[in-house]
Amino acid sequence: MNRKIHLLLASALATNVAFGVAAQENSVTVVLSEELEIVEPCSATKSNVGRVLFQNISETVTEMDPNTGLQPRLAESWEDMGNGTWRFTLRPDVTFSDGTDMRTDDVAHSLVRMKSPDIACEIGAKFFGGIEITTNIIDEYTIDVTASPAQPILPMLMSTVTVTPSDTPLDSFVDHPIGTGPYTFDEYIRGESITLNANPNYWGEQPTVQSATYVFRGDSAVRAAMVAAGEADIAPNIALQDATDDALDFSYPNSETLFLRIEHAQEPLNDRRVREALSLAVDREAFVGTILANGTLLATGMTPPSTIGYNRDLAPYPFDPERARELLAEAAADGVAIETEITLIGRTNNFANVLETMEALLAMYQDVGFNMKLEMVEVAEWLERYAKPFPEDRGPQLIQAQHDNANGDPVFSMYFKYHSDGQQSGLLDPNVDAMIVDATAATGDERAAKWSELFTYLHEESIADVMLFHMVGFSRVNERLDFTPSIRTNSELQLSQIQFN
C-alpha cells in the first residue's frame, strides 16, 4: 500500500514539475479566445485566423506598418505605371514551405483566388469589393496589377493579399496552408491545438521563436490564468477585469472605434440640432477608468489616430446636458418630433462591459429629454439592422458599433461607413460622397489633407454619428518574453518579432 502511495505521489510530483516547465526554450504557447473555423490564407485578415497565419505562414506582397508606413515584403519595389496599373517586382529566391519557388504566377493566382465566386474569401470581399483586378505577368519576378476603377492606394491594398501557390484550389478552402513565411503549418488537432515550426528555408532571417503552439479557451479568466500559471506565454485578448497584474498585462490601442450610427433619413434624427444634442448629452470622460479601461481615447473620427489624415485639432464634444436640452427645445419649437421614441441598439458581447456602457448612455439620453429605449441584440440580428438593406418600419435608431481599421488609411472605412451607397452608411449626403471620391483618388500630402477635411466635415458640419471612444485592448504576456503588444496585435501576431528575455 505504501509503495502505491509513493508511486502516486511521485507521479503527481513529476506531472507538477512538467507543468512548471511546459514552456520550452525557444517555443511559445499562445492562447486564443476561439478555435479557428478555417485556416485559409485568403481570410487571414480575420483576427483569430490572422494571429496564426498572417505573416507567419502566409506573407503579403507589401506590408503596412503603423509606425513606418508601407514596407516591402514579398515585393521588393513597386511603381505606378499609370491608368490604374502598378508594377510589382518580387524578391528572388523565395520558396514556399512545400519547396516550390514563389513566382509572379503565384501572385496572379492569389489575386484571382481571393475574388473566386466559389469561396467566400474575407480579403477579396473586404478590401477588393467593387474593384476588378487584372494581372499581366512580365517575367518571373515582375508583374503588372491593374485595378478598375483605378486605386491610387493599390500598393497599400496589396498589404492584405496573402500569396499562396498557383495550384491552390479556386473552389475550396485549404486545410493545410502553404506559404512563404518564417513558419510552416505542421499540425492542427481540431478542437485542441495548432502547431507551427520555424521554416528552415525561409528567405529572411531565422526567427528566435522556433515553434509555437496555439490553444483555444473561450473564457478570458482562464486565458489569463494560463499565462499566470506558466502554461501559456501570450493571451492576446483578455477582458479588462482579468488584466490585474501590472507585470504581465499590457494595454494597447486595439484599433477599434466605438460609435453610435445615426440614420439621418429618420425623424427626429434628420435634424442637426438633435444630432448635436445626442453628442453633447454623453459624459465621455465618466466612462474612462470606470466601465472602460484607462487609456481609452475620446474619439472624433471613425478611424484611430494612427491613420493618415486623422484630424488631431478636432475636439470631442463636451458633456453639456443644458445645451443639449436647449437644442431639443429649439428643435421642438420648430416642429421636429423630438418625442418620437428612438431605439438604442447594442450588440451583446461586443466588448467588455457593453451592457453597462449602453445602459449608461441610455440614462444620459433620457436625462436630457430623449424618449429612448434600449435593445441588446445578438450579432446576427444586429447585422440585419446595421447593414443595408435596412429593415422596413424600423423607426429612428441609434446603433452601437465598433469599427476596426489598423491599416493606416481611412479609405478602408469611409466608403462603407459614409458614402450614400456604403453598406453601413446612415448618410445620404452628396458632399460627403464627393469628398470620399476626391480623397480616395488623391495621393501624398493632398490625400492626408482631403481625409482630414472629411473628418472635420463629418464631425462638425454633418455630425454624422455619435463618436465615442478609441478603445484599448489587453494582452497578457509571460515575463520570459520580450514582446510588447501593439495596435497590430488585434489582428496579427508575428512570431518572428518575439524575443526571449
Binding site: 466559389d118 469589393g129 478542437g191 473564457d219 500559471a229 450579432v379 446576427a380 462603407f416
Partner: protein, 304 residues
C-alpha cells in the same frame, strides 16, 4: 422484451422525425447566415454567390426536401463555418462529451450510492453531514464560479493540476470534479431518501433479526430495492451531460458537443445544429432504452 424494444424504437424514430422538422424550420427562423460569414463590406453579388453555394436561395420547403434526400443517404451536409462534413465536426465533439459524461457519471454513481447508503444508515451521523454539505454546494454554487475558483486555487496558486486543456489524465481532474458536484449532490439525496425508506421496511428488520451483517443489509438487501428511483434520476442527469456541459467545456477548453451546438446556433451553422441534435437525441433514446432494461433487471416484477 423484443416487442417492447421494437415499439420503443418506432416511437423514438417518430420523435426523431418530429425533432428534425422542428429544428429545421425553427433554426431557419433565426435568419440568413450570409451576413455572419461575409465581411460587413461584402457586395450584394458576393452575398448572392454565398447563398447560392449553400443552397440558401431555394424556397424553404425545397431546402427541407433536399436535406431529407441527403439525410437518407446519411449525408448531413457541410458545415458553413468549418467547410468540412457536419457529421465529422459533430462526431469529434460528441466523442469528448461522451467521455466526459461516462467518466463523470461513473464516479457520481459509485460515490453517491456508497455515501448515500452510509448516510441513510446513520441519519445525522458524520456521513449524513458530509452528504448534506455536498448536496448544498451542488444545489447552490454555479458551475462557472466553482470552475474559476478551482482554477485559481489548484492551478494558479498551488500548481497541482493544469488550468485547462486535454493533454493528460491530469487535465481531466478539474472539469470532472466541477461536473461531478451537481449530480452527485442530487443523486446522493435520492439514494439517502430511498435507502431510509428501504432500511425501515419489514424485510430489513427480518434480516437484522436473523443476524445478517450491516454491510450485507445495506448493500445487498436494501440497496437493490432502493435503486429504482435512483436509476431514473441518474438517467436524467446523464441525459443532461450528453447534451453537453457548455460551461465546463467553455472554461476548460474541452471541445465537446455542447459548446459546439451553442456556437453553431449563434453562427447559424444549420447543418451542424441538425447533426448535433440528431446524434444527441439518438444517444438519449438509446440510454433511455438501457434504463428501461435496467428496471427489469433490478426488479423482476417489471415485465415488458
Amino acid at each position: 422484451m423484443l416487442k417492447f424494444l421494437g415499439s420503443r424504437a418506432i416511437a423514438s424514430a417518430i420523435s426523431l422525425v418530429g425533432l428534425i422538422l422542428l429544428v429545421f424550420f425553427l433554426s431557419r427562423l433565426t435568419g440568413d447566415p450570409t451576413g455572419l460569414y461575409l465581411p460587413l463590406d461584402a457586395s450584394e453579388e458576393s452575398r448572392n454567390q454565398f447563398r447560392e453555394i449553400h443552397g440558401l436561395n431555394d424556397p424553404l420547403l425545397i431546402q427541407f426536401f433536399n436535406y431529407l434526400g441527403d439525410l437518407v443517404r446519411l449525408d448531413f451536409g457541410e458545415s458553413i463555418r468549418r467547410s468540412e462534413p457536419a457529421i465529422d465536426v459533430v462526431l469529434r465533439g460528441f466523442g469528448w462529451t461522451l467521455q466526459l459524461a461516462v467518466v463523470t457519471m461513473s464516479l457520481v454513481v459509485v460515490f453517491s450510492i456508497i455515501l448515500g447508503s452510509l448516510a441513510a444508515f446513520h441519519v445525522g451521523g458524520v456521513f449524513d453531514r458530509i452528504a448534506t454539505f455536498f448536496s448544498l454546494i451542488g444545489a447552490s454554487a454555479p458551475d462557472f464560479w466553482i470552475a474559476i475558483v478551482a482554477i485559481v486555487i489548484f492551478s494558479v496558486n498551488l500548481g497541482w493540476v493544469p488550468t485547462s486543456g486535454t493533454g493528460t489524465v491530469w487535465h481531466w481532474i478539474l472539469p470532472v470534479s466541477v461536473l461531478f458536484i451537481r449530480p452527485f449532490g442530487l443523486i446522493l439525496q435520492i439514494v439517502r431518501g430511498s435507502m431510509i425508506t428501504a432500511l425501515s421496511s419489514a424485510y430489513v428488520k427480518t434480516a437484522r433479526a436473523k443476524g445478517i451483517k450491516n454491510k450485507a443489509i445495506i448493500f445487498v438487501h436494501a440497496l437493490r430495492n432502493a435503486l429504482l428511483p435512483v436509476i431514473t434520476v441518474i438517467g436524467d442527469q446523464a441525459a443532461a451531460l450528453l447534451n453537453g456541459a457548455v460551461v465546463v467545456e467553455t472554461i476548460f477548453g474541452f471541445p465537446g458537443v455542447g459548446k459546439l451546438m451553442i456556437d453553431s446556433i449563434l453562427q447559424r451553422d444549420f447543418t451542424v445544429v441538425m447533426a448535433a441534435i440528431m446524434l444527441t437525441a439518438t444517444a438519449i433514446f438509446v440510454m433511455n432504452l438501457v434504463i428501461d432494461i435496467l428496471y427489469s433487471i433490478l426488479d423482476p416484477r417489471i415485465r415488458y
